[in-house]
């Protein structure tokens, strides 16, 4: 009897394995979003864009009070000034990004010619360098201010990341990002999902863990812990360090693929950056 049960279980897990192996990104996204809807049935889907405050009523009250005088306002005005100030050669960011500044919704996207995921901060630096300006650091400072302004202008745009079917390398980048997300790493042997899917809503010391759904919508953020603005890749790096894994380079291939995967999984949510977080 026991043997039979074990073999049935093995067969079941084989079937389960097979369905996931064949899953398309679209199916992955459905399963992922359904999981969070089932975990938090009283949360309207768009509210996941508010991170942990979608599920923490006490934290939410504090946060709403903070949002009355948002701590990211300084960054917004700095960013706006950067956007409007011409480079030494007289050109501006607008020349690089004619559809800006409300254009965050197009990122990240797959660039077929270059065979890589393109992100907003990466293109900002490419714009600067093509105008003989020094590139900005990716994690904080002026870069965070500039994209805070762009994010603010782009509020309400719906995330619609595409994985072009005419280039298998795009799907490969998505799969790499997915593997990164679900791989356990570091001395603590945690994956991103250990905290933000399996344990979302549980407490880590006194902090409630936020659900993964919605994680990319509101960056850059002003984090009280940092006392300043930081970008999505700065947050990735912090998460990796917390599980005692060596962080990867901001805007390196690993984090860009991760952003591609995570943002795709948030398809359908509205952008609401910049945010304020604990």
């Amino acid at each position: 009897m026991k043997k039979m049960m074990i073999s049935t279980l093995a067969a079941l897990s084989l079937i389960a394995g097979a369905t996931v192996a064949m899953a398309t990104p679209e199916q992955d996204k459905e399963v992922w979003q359904n999981y969070f809807k089932a975990r938090f049935p009283n949360v309207p889907v768009q509210d996941f864009a508010n991170g942990v405050y979608s599920i923490d009523p006490i934290g939410r009250e504090n946060w709403e009070a903070i949002e009355e005088f948002p701590p990211y306002e300084t960054a917004l005005s700095e960013g706006e000034e950067m956007w409007n100030t011409p480079f030494a050669n007289g050109k501006t960011y607008q020349d690089c990004f004619p559809d800006g500044p409300a254009f965050e919704g197009k990122y990240p996207y797959w660039n077929k010619e270059r065979g890589m995921v393109m992100t907003l901060p990466l293109e900002i630096n490419e714009c600067r360098e093509s105008n003989d300006e020094k590139p900005l650091k990716y994690k904080k400072g002026p870069m965070a201010s500039l994209i805070a302004f762009i994010a603010y202008e782009s509020r309400g745009q719906v995330i619609k990341v595409e994985i072009p079917e005419d280039d298998p390398k795009a799907a490969e980048a998505f799969e790499k990002g997915k593997q990164f997300y679900f791989a356990r790493r570091g001395q603590l042997n945690f994956s991103c999902a250990t905290c933000h899917a399996l344990n979302a809503g549980n407490v880590l010391r006194t902090e409630i863990l936020s659900p993964a759904l919605g994680h990319t919508t509101h960056f850059p953020v002003y984090r009280s812990k940092w006392g300043e603005m930081g970008t999505l890749h700065r947050r990735f790096s912090g998460c990796n360090k917390q599980v005692r894994a060596k962080p990867f380079k901001a805007q390196g291939e690993e984090y860009r693929n991760l952003e591609y995967f995570m943002t795709y999984m948030n398809n359908g949510l509205e952008l609401n950056g910049p945010g304020a977080r604990k």
Partner: protein, 314 residues
Amino acid sequence: MKIRSFSIGLMATALMVAVPATNAWSATRSETESAIAAADEARKKAASVGGEWRDTGKMIKKATKMLDTREYSKAIGIADKAKAQGELGYEQAMSQKDAGIPDYVVAVGTPKPAVAEMAAKAVTMGIQAIEVMHNGDTVVIERGHDEDATLPAEFLKTERACPPFCVQPISAGEGVETVGEIEVLDYLKRATAGEAVLVVDSRTTDWVLRGTIPGSVNIPWNQVDPQQQGMFGDSGDIYLQNLMTEQFGAVQTEDGAIDFSDAKTLVLFCNGIWCGQSSANIATLLNIGYPAEKLKWYRGGMQDWVSVGMTTVK
């Protein structure tokens, strides 16, 4: 995609490896240098597959500095630890190469195919089915949809270690009534009709996701007993206070005391007679003055509920 399980042993080993390769008296500079070189090689190997740990590089730097102070045996200890981290990081990264969406997400997130309806059996003489509200939806509780139904997998197990899975006594506290399925159905009916009754699933969310009693509300036991979560003093009290006023209908008076006169009748349950979570919560609630006559304990819990094929919801 099945993730090869990466053993808990890894963490244990990682935290303990500090066995010096050479004994304290005989370590020399060249031995130390080769220990450091071996550690760096292991670190690089882990990094080559994206598996380097946070502190490995720092440990190697620290050991290298100790060459100047001639603390050779101490340096070798640190280098060996760093080497073990490198090896474990490599092994970990390799074991996670095929990581994908975990089973617990797939199980909950995959849309369920519709099952053909079968005539339901009576719950008991005189009760065919009852309608309850669950998270805003109407759910019918009935019995028997499937002739070949057996217990769900999570309730098949009989070997469970005590602690924590100790067999519970018949009473959860003085004056607290122990109830069975028929009474629970009645309380669910009353709750749905808007009476001051709350049927509480005290289990943690991961259990509730696999199915719970329709009409129940999940309040994980560690929210009532916050010290179990490692929360002390005020931070835990705030959660309990919030539960009291937001969910249980108790009122905090001006002098800080709690007025239970309009508090709801709570019917608590967890996984069954081998689960002490709901009874622990009852003890805590009694302790802070919750009236015993307003506390009911469904001792049989989920194990009994599913054993008679009653409707569950996910």
